[in-house]
């Protein structure tokens, strides 16, 4: 039924770690569940807290069954009290626990921004490194289905602006698992933003515990003509676009950003230095968004600037809230074709 519709946009996305075709496969959803379960088994300080985490549905299946394995002491349903509960999770982190706080939608996090940005983000620095907050906050971002303005936001830029937070956005099952494990073992607050339309995507998913480093982007396709930097759901679209463009003789280099904060500045700049052209594809609003920071990184570095052959392009959402009507959603959201036109424009203009 469509009110829970989750579409996998692509079934296969190359990760540098999946060269072996014999590897085990699994879904993005499985990846999150596996990472959580493994960490809970390995480290008794890890626990899960959030609205509906003990529910039959298990937050789109990502926490399903944990309650049966770990019981209500470590899989804790929460009142609808986002700010307070974030502070509770933060307090537990201060006491040495590694809480995983789960939100059905990132849209609810503005309620808890005070605890996230004024408290969790600042606690280490404000106390001279004498405290640490190993807190992971999972939240679902991006498209719903006619969900309108209050249930469809992508707020990575908001969190990324605050020093002290880390922000990751996995685009593949492999990264979903590896980044969640890294987040849970990080000694700092991490916003882990997953995309609802990726849950059913399958891909390589090793059974063992492995980490994908926070702060490292992933060069998933090499090319000489244009650099496409893509985030979350846009990664699959960027790969599709790159394939199409390849047929037209335009060789795209595609980078899956994976971590929004801290940004992998080096990889971003070195790729743009190589191709001389930059297209950024983000799931969020363009204005004052993550894509702006990436353009700024290109423009303020001398070597990158000198390599630039033409203007950069942002494929990101227009400056309006999400409309409900599907005919407007179609205009609002972007697809591979928008990346293709952006790349073509970038090539033509330079």
């Amino acid at each position: 039924m469509p009110w829970t519709k989750i579409a996998a946009e692509r079934q296969n996305i190359t990760t540098t770690d999946s060269v072996n075709p014999d590897v085990r496969r699994g879904s993005y959803r499985d990846a999150i569940l596996e990472a959580t379960r493994s960490c809970m088994e390995t480290d008794e300080n890890v626990f899960v807290l959030g609205e509906g985490v003990d529910d039959v549905g298990g937050v789109f299946g990502t926490t399903q069954g944990l309650i049966d394995i770990f019981g209500p002491e470590r899989v804790i349903d929460s009142p609808l009290a986002e700010n307070g509960i974030t502070g509770v999770a933060m307090g537990a982190a201060l006491a040495g626990m590694r809480p995983l706080l789960v939100h059905m939608r990132v849209d609810f996090l503005p309620l808890s921004l005070d605890q996230i940005a004024n408290h969790a983000a600042k606690w280490s620095y404000m106390f001279g490194g004498n405290a640490s907050v190993p807190l992971t906050i999972r939240a679902i971002t991006g498209r719903g289905w006619g969900s309108a303005a209050q249930h469809s936001q992508s707020l990575q830029a908001i969190f990324a602006h605050f020093p002290g937070l880390k922000v990751v956005m996995p685009a593949t099952p492999y990264d979903a698992k590896g980044l969640l494990i890294s987040s849970l073992y990080d000694n700092n607050p991490v916003l882990y933003l997953e995309h609802r339309w990726l849950y059913d995507m399958t891909g390589p998913l090793p059974a063992e515990m492995y980490r994908v480093p926070i702060g490292k982007a992933n060069l998933i396709r090499e090319g000489k003509d244009v650099t496409i930097i893509a985030i979350s759901q846009m990664v699959g679209m960027a790969m599709e676009a790159a394939e199409d463009l390849g047929a037209d003789g335009i060789e795209c280099e595609v980078i899956d950003l994976r971590t929004i904060k801290p940004l992998d500045i080096e990889l971003i700049r070195s790729s743009v230095q190589k191709t001389g052209r930059l297209v950024v594809a983000d799931t969020a609003w363009k204005e004052f968004g993550v894509s702006a920071e990436i353009l700024a990184l290109a423009l303020e570095d001398r070597d990158t600037f000198n390599a630039l052959k033409g203007p950069a392009i942002r494929v990101a959402l227009p400056d309006v809230p999400t409309p409900a009507s599907h005919v407007l959603e179609e205009v609002f959201y972007h697809g591979p074709e928008d990346i293709i036109s952006a790349v073509k424009k970038a090539v033509e203009e330079a």
């Binding site: 039924m1 469509p2 009110w3 829970t4 609205e51 509906g52 529910d55 039959v56 549905g57 349903d77 929460s78 009142p79 609808l80 009290a81 986002e82 700010n83 307070g84 849209d107 609810f108 309620l111 719903g144 289905w145 006619g146 969900s147 309108a148 303005a149 209050q150 249930h151 227009p318 400056d319 309006v320 809230p321 409309p323 409900a324 009507s325 599907h326 005919v327 407007l328 205009v331 609002f332």
Partner: protein, 337 residues
């Protein structure tokens, strides 16, 4: 869940309330019920492309409260807002058109089922952020107080919203300033699949009003007469400058949290619970009382559904014939001039 197992209507109450009012209460409930059932019927076509939160089983609250309101009294509501809107006077046409994503929708297709508005009827909008609408009604109350316009503001919210700090902040302010606001908490004992008792330390919503020095009442939310009487009192108190009240109305949602299906199949809740509450149907029990008490003639009652079906058909055909927004509409309405 400490509600009486029967829905009983005292003969005195039925005698004290004008027949016209009783009939309207019934009609409003039935309009809401049939409206929601029409959605259940049509939703699988996937032409209403937005999440729907149905209020089947909870109709008495919207009907009982809104019967006490004037057209220019203010109302704010939440994600489960169809019933509130209908009871407060929005037309089914603009609702369906909205759900079908058309320009003629109450929000020009930009809001979907969670965002209902009709300022001409005092409906100022609904928030899909749990608790988000509560302070707004306090704000409209503050406006009425400054303008001395004698309007009353009503806000509908769930037991889940009672968890949120914003309820506390808003109720305190309303009580502090003695604002004309009626807080109606529809306690259906669940927020999504979370039981009230797994979220609230003391499941006594109405009593908590006392901590703010304001009146709180707990009523059977499946009994439209109880709701009507409680709201009558609260609205009168508000209108006469006596400040806010909290009405907790216990009830049950028959369908799943979102969408047209029941949820016991998925294991979210038990079938017994649903059966228990279906017996306590607010519409059927009230119809029975009106019929058996001889308060409204069978003929009158029998004619009501047909009128509503006609209304529904007209509304639907209005919706479906209406145009979709043009692509340019995406960029409109961001700012008000």
């Amino acid at each position: 869940m400490s509600t009486k197992s029967d829905v009983n209507f005292s003969p005195e109450d039925l005698a004290a309330i004008p027949q016209k009012a009783l009939l309207e209460l019934y009609t409003t409930m039935l309009r809401i019920r049939l409206f929601e059932e029409k959605i259940v019927e049509l939703y699988p076509e996937q032409e209403m492309k937005c999440p729907v939160h149905l209020c089947i089983g909870q109709e008495a609250i919207a009907a009982g409260v809104c019967r006490n309101l004037k057209k220019d009294d203010y109302m704010v509501s939440n994600h489960r807002g169809h019933g509130h809107g209908i009871a407060k006077g929005i037309s089914m046409k603009v609702l369906f058109a909205e759900f079908y994503g058309r320009t003629t929708g109450c929000s020009k297709g930009k809001g979907g089922s969670m965002h209902i508005i009709d300022t001409s009827q005092g409906i100022l909008g609904t928030s899909a952020i749990v608790g988000g609408g509560i302070p707004m009604a306090v704000g409209t109350g503050l406006s009425s107080r400054i303008k001395k316009d004698k309007r009353v503001s009503v806000v509908f919210f769930g037991d889940g919203a009672f968890d949120e700090g914003v309820f506390y902040e808003s109720f305190n302010f309303a009580s502090l300033k003695k604002l004309p606001v009626v807080f109606v908490c529809e306690n259906n004992f669940y927020a999504t699949n979370s039981r009230q008792s797994s979220r609230q330390s003391s499941c006594e919503i109405a009593n908590s009003a006392r901590a703010f020095g304001a009146p709180g009442m707990c009523v059977d939310g499946n009994n439209v007469v109880e709701v009507y009487k409680a709201a009558d009192q609260a609205v009168k108190l508000a209108r006469s400058g006596g400040g806010p009240s909290l009405i907790e109305a216990t009830t049950y949602r028959w369908k799943g949290h979102v969408g047209p299906d029941v949820d016991y199949e998925k294991g979210a809740r038990t079938e017994e619970e649903l059966i228990y509450w279906m017996k306590r149907c607010p519409v059927k029990n009230f119809e029975k009382a009106l019929r058996e008490g001889g308060i409204v003639t069978g003929e009158t009652l029998d004619a009501i559904p047909q009128a509503i079906f006609t209304e529904l058909d007209e509304a639907l055909s209005f919706a479906i014939k209406s145009p979709y927004p043009k692509p340019e509409a995406l960029y409109e309405d961001l700012y008000n001039i």
